[in-house]
Structure formats: C-alpha cells, structure tokens
C-alpha cells in the first residue's frame, strides 16, 4: 500500500483530483463552523462568550497532536524503508503542526486569562503541549541544519520518532495528575459533556481543520516534489556545462 502510493507520479495524479474537493469541503465546513460557533450558538453558563475560543482551541490542539503522529509515522517509514517521499511528507507536515500547536497555546492563553486568572501556568497539560511545539521547531531546524540534505532528514526523523513519547503524556496528563487544565470533554466513556448546540460547531470546526490540513500538506508535498525536480535539473545542466567546457 505504502509503496504503491509512494510513486511520485501516482501521488500527483491522485492528489490532483483530491485537492479541489478538499479545499472546497474545508472552506464550507469552516465557514459553517464559524457561523455556528461565533454567531448561532448559546454562550456558556459560566464562561459567557469566552466559550467561543474553544471552537478554535480544541480543533487546533487535536490537529497539533494528530499531525505529530503523522510526522512520526512518516519518519519511521523514512528510516525503515528509506523512501524519499516519506521524508518529503515529514518535512511538509512539520511547519503545519508547529503552527497549529502555536495556535493552541495562544488561544488557550487568551482563554486562560479571563477564566483561570492567568495567562500561563506550568501544569502538566500546558507544559507537555509547549514541549510538542518545541519538538516541531526542533524537527524543522534539525532537518535544515546539515549541508547534505539527507543527513538532516535522517537526524530529524530520529528526533520525530523520539517525540512520540510526548503524545500519550499530552493526552492523559489531565487524568494522571492534578492539573489546572480541565479534563477532556469530548472523548469520554459516558459521552461528551458539551451541550449539543455547542457540540455542532466544535465538530464542524474539527472536520474543517482536518480537511484544510490535508489540503495544505498535500500542496506542500507537491511543492517539495517540484523543488526536487528543479534541483535535479540544475545539477544536470551544470554537469552538461562542465562537459562542454572540456
């Protein structure tokens, strides 16, 4: 399955068809989600209108951790099967994941000030989320830090794999330790503890963010494929010139 998709031409052919659909679907769901989230939904009984920050905060947080899983899995594929497309996939995912984790931290901070009474605390959830952000930044820096690109790809992939450990810590931090951050409202054994009218925009935003992230990552991979072709062409041209001079 992976080998089948890992052919760049096939990847291009399939994603060419997917991209417009993804873009359109993500725009529609995000616009609907924003309409319900910011306008057509009730305020919370104790948070008031500040509850609306959740409709951006929670989807960003899910994507930040979900994309890290994608980054780590494609890094494993790169290290084990050494396929260049897996490396491009990781490199394409990292900046998007970094942005979503930054968005999570910023929106959470904006919510925390009026609700908790503080912008930031060093509790387990907030700290592990910050570490996730640092892993993304570390990946981006390390993958570009070497003169030979392949060295960067390898060492950054190892870093990404090590970072997997952080994912269960983020998820379960609110259950394992006393934290200021509230426990999960959505993924619970006895069903979500969010009112239906608030659940609708939240789910729409989660779907919309996922679609948008898939679109932008595919676009990113394609750009990197073209870059790679250009590099190969330039190399070829240079070689030709050298042989002409001789």
């Amino acid at each position: 399955m992976f080998d089948w998709l890992a052919n760049p031409n096939r990847f291009n052919r399939i994603t060419n068809k997917m991209q417009p659909v993804l873009l359109l679907a993500s725009l529609i769901t995000i616009i609907l989600g924003l309409y319900f989230g910011l306008y057509d939904s009730p305020k919370d009984y104790q948070q008031g209108h500040a509850v609306r920050i959740m409709y951006v905060h929670v989807p960003s947080a899910w994507l930040a951790s979900g994309l890290y899983l994608l980054l780590a899995i494609s890094s494993i594929f790169y290290i084990v099967w050494k396929h260049p497309l897996a490396d491009l996939m990781s490199r394409a995912t990292a900046p998007i994941g970094a942005l979503f984790s930054l968005l999570t931290l910023v929106t959470g901070s904006l919510w925390g000030k009026p609700m908790w009474g503080t912008w930031w605390v060093w509790d387990a959830r907030l700290t592990s989320m910050l570490i996730l952000f640092f892993f993304y930044i570390g990946y981006i820096l390390l993958s570009n830090a070497f003169e030979r690109k392949i060295d960067g790809s390898k060492s950054a992939a190892v870093l990404a794999i090590v970072g997997i450990i952080n994912l269960p810590i983020i998820k379960f931090s609110v259950d394992w330790w006393h934290t200021l951050h509230q426990p999960s409202s959505l993924l619970k054994f006895d069903g979500p503890t969010i009112d239906g009218q608030m659940l609708l925009p939240l789910i729409l935003m989660i779907i919309g963010f996922c679609l948008f992230a898939s679109y932008i990552i595919i676009l990113n991979v394609k750009t990197k494929l073209i870059e790679k072709k250009c590099e190969a062409l330039i190399l070829k041209l240079n070689l030709n010139e050298i042989s002409n001079i001789r």
Binding site: I79, W122, A124, I165, L180
Partner: protein, 148 residues
C-alpha cells in the same frame, strides 16, 4: 534478516525503552508534576502544616458561606469535603471565583492558614448554555459545583 527489518526492530526497541524510561521518570517526579494538592492529599503527605516550608498550591472547592471580603482582602475556606484549609488572600479574584467553585490557591502556611499570593479558578469539563444550567438546577440533577 533484511536491513530494513533490522531497522524496524531497532526502532521498536528504542521506542519501548524510551517509553519505559519516561514512565519511570514521570513516576519518580509525580510530586513535582502535580499542580496542586487537595487538603486531604496535604494531610496525608505532610501531616502538620508546620512541616511545609515552601510555597505550595492547594486545590479544592470554596466552602459555601465561608467567603468574607473586606476592602479587597478575602478570607475563605478551601475544602475537598474531607479536610478544610483557611485561606487569606489580598488581591483581585478571577471572575469565576464563587462559593462552590473549584479553585487553586498558591501561598505559604502561617499557623495552619494559607496566606495566598495567587488564586486561580479551575474550570470543569462541562459546557452548557445558561438555560440548560438553570433547568438542571431546577430539576435537582445539578452536579456542576460539586465535582471538581
């Protein structure tokens, strides 16, 4: 064994070992990672409050009818329904502060009372419109203020 399977095995081993190591570290640091103690945790861990020298955070509910506010100075009692701790606080309270609300107070102990330097409100995982909250209270199935 093919090199790619060897790499796969090595990666699996590394992740497992790192996972166990992290688990052990987190268990060893449990006391440093938890953000606050409940009054009962505190009793079990330290016994008497005079044994606590450093700043500490206590989390629990604001006991009903215990809040006294006099020119910006607040006195209230934190409870986990087992033990209680009296708190003095001189500063501005978060909006969500009220009786029955889960809160966290940070400060030092003087004569069994917590002199708080910061009071934070804890929010629970329940989200609902005001009308629903009213209806729940009316029907007597309200749980919001009791759970932390």
């Amino acid at each position: 064994m093919k090199p790619k399977y060897r790499r796969l095995v090595i990666i699996t081993l590394i992740i497992t070992i790192l996972g166990i190591a992290t688990q052990l570290i987190l268990m060893a640091l449990k006391d440093n990672i938890i953000y606050f103690y409940s009054p009962n945790d505190l009793k079990l861990k330290y016994g008497e409050t005079k044994n606590i020298k450093n700043k500490i955070r206590i989390g629990g509910l604001v006991l009903e009818d215990s809040v006294i506010i006099e020119n910006n100075k607040t006195t209230f009692i934190i409870t986990d329904r087992i033990h209680q701790i009296k708190v003095y606080f001189d500063g501005s309270l978060p909006d969500l502060f009220r009786e029955g609300q889960g809160i966290i107070a940070e400060g030092t102990f003087i004569k069994n009372n917590l002199i708080a330097s910061q009071v934070l409100a804890k929010h629970d995982e329940n989200y609902m419109p005001p009308e629903v909250a009213e209806a729940l209270k009316k029907n007597g199935v309200w749980q919001g203020d009791i759970k932390q």
